[in-house]
Subunit: 148 residues, 4 copies
């Protein structure tokens, strides 16, 4: 059984992202395919995390930030052409707890109806060994703490 | 908080599916992108559910089987060219509980290491009204009960 | 060498679309996967064609606008995070020639370097019979002629 | 009309690949999305090219094999669940002409009807400089000449 993701209770970081579902993201049932929501969640998570660790810097440092858990709960189907809003939030950790958890909340921009919500968790890994990084490089940790 | 998915305890239906990760499914970190696992889970779920309700018949009957919940827990990255095996299982419900839950377990075919596991849930919906179908059409229910 | 598709010489319709390559669109070579450019071209084409025929109306009328030809010539790899611009153009036909051709030109927004160019062609088809529609419904044709 | 890409006239290498269109590859028009054919063409091309240069070896050597041109001509829509066959062919070059061209031919396995055909071209590039590699490493060239 999958357990709900534990989250720290630190300062809350929030971002809002406009989403425009694309034609190719639909499936033959006429709605956005269930896998696409995770692509949107990723954009929400990166909205926050690219401020902390840009991809080029991650490649230079030899660290990855793989997703270790993805959850989505679907309430109403998203459709092509509907303007959506994705709200992503994250509780800042005062001490690194081994992984970062993000909450995602997708709404229809005009009807203000919740279409889906979910949680994703990522961690920090050494690219060569594949092992968890337990202590973050100073620079990155400072930028993480400075998130607003 | 997301709660673990409740499951009935009926007869266990199991399927095995060979998976060949494709080049385009990789991302710039050199591994299969996290969203792709849900495409594989879907193939596993459809391995079972297409025996119960083929897509053409669903379209004729005017019913959809949307995914209402998707969970994936990632343990080791899947890579391009690695032959994988996806095990999907489902506890048959003796009475329809409003949704069907599937468990997915992805392993490296040769190393027999678990790469990921997850759960997905789907339901039955009237295509026109978008409402849940509470009683299944007889034929489909019979085929569901006859699953092996 | 890419041979240009034959095009009518009518009034030129042009659109510009900002593109933000997404992380999941990269592949293990660190660049945007070659298939993704066609998703962008589609957004460019729809920028024009949704003014003529919204998807809901197409479904009501029972007509499809399938792509019949896709061409892309790649010059430099697009990368995650690079802001791009997609220019799409179309020569308006004074009489329907059986298909509509669109030209696509993708540039790096800041470096003003061409990354790729291509052409796509679509046609109008009766959804039930799968046959080409030779005469367009009046409304749609009027809107097509009114494109600016 | 699709003009064939110029090809050398060397010995013809052919491969056949069974394709099983997936549910998530459909779009709201009920057919396989036009971009997906290029994913299949890539599988056909890699069926040949991975015998010449496995991906791990390419990464070690620091060479890429980017697609420089993609063409697809669509004749009939592919649908979910239809078993398809993809035929890929390549004329072996006795001297490297700067790029390799592959022809792709997609048919419905049972009806033996052509659904689409296309051509793709790839080249060899130095991963660090992005420049074309004019002379192939000996090993790889030998394996290329040994293709059957």
């Amino acid at each position: 059984m999958l357990k709900p993701l534990p989250q720290s209770k630190g300062r809350l970081i929030k971002r809002r992202l406009p989403i425009q579902p694309a034609f190719h993201e639909t499936d033959m049932m006429g709605v956005i395919h269930n896998s696409v929501y995770f692509l949107w969640f990723e954009q929400g998570r990166l909205q926050i995390m690219l401020e902390v660790l840009p991809v080029e810097e991650a490649l230079q440092l030899g660290v990855f930030m793989p997703v270790v858990e993805n959850i989505c709960h679907y309430r109403k189907p998203a459709r092509f052409g509907q303007p959506l809003l994705l709200y992503t939030s994250h509780h800042l950790q005062s001490r690194y707890e081994g992984r970062l958890v993000f909450s995602h909340y997708l709404i229809h921009e005009k009807q203000r109806v919740a279409l889906a919500y979910g949680q994703t968790a990522m961690t920090l890994v050494d690219a060569r060994t594949g092992r968890l990084v337990k202590t973050w490089p100073d620079d990155i940790w400072r930028r993480y703490q400075a998130l607003k």
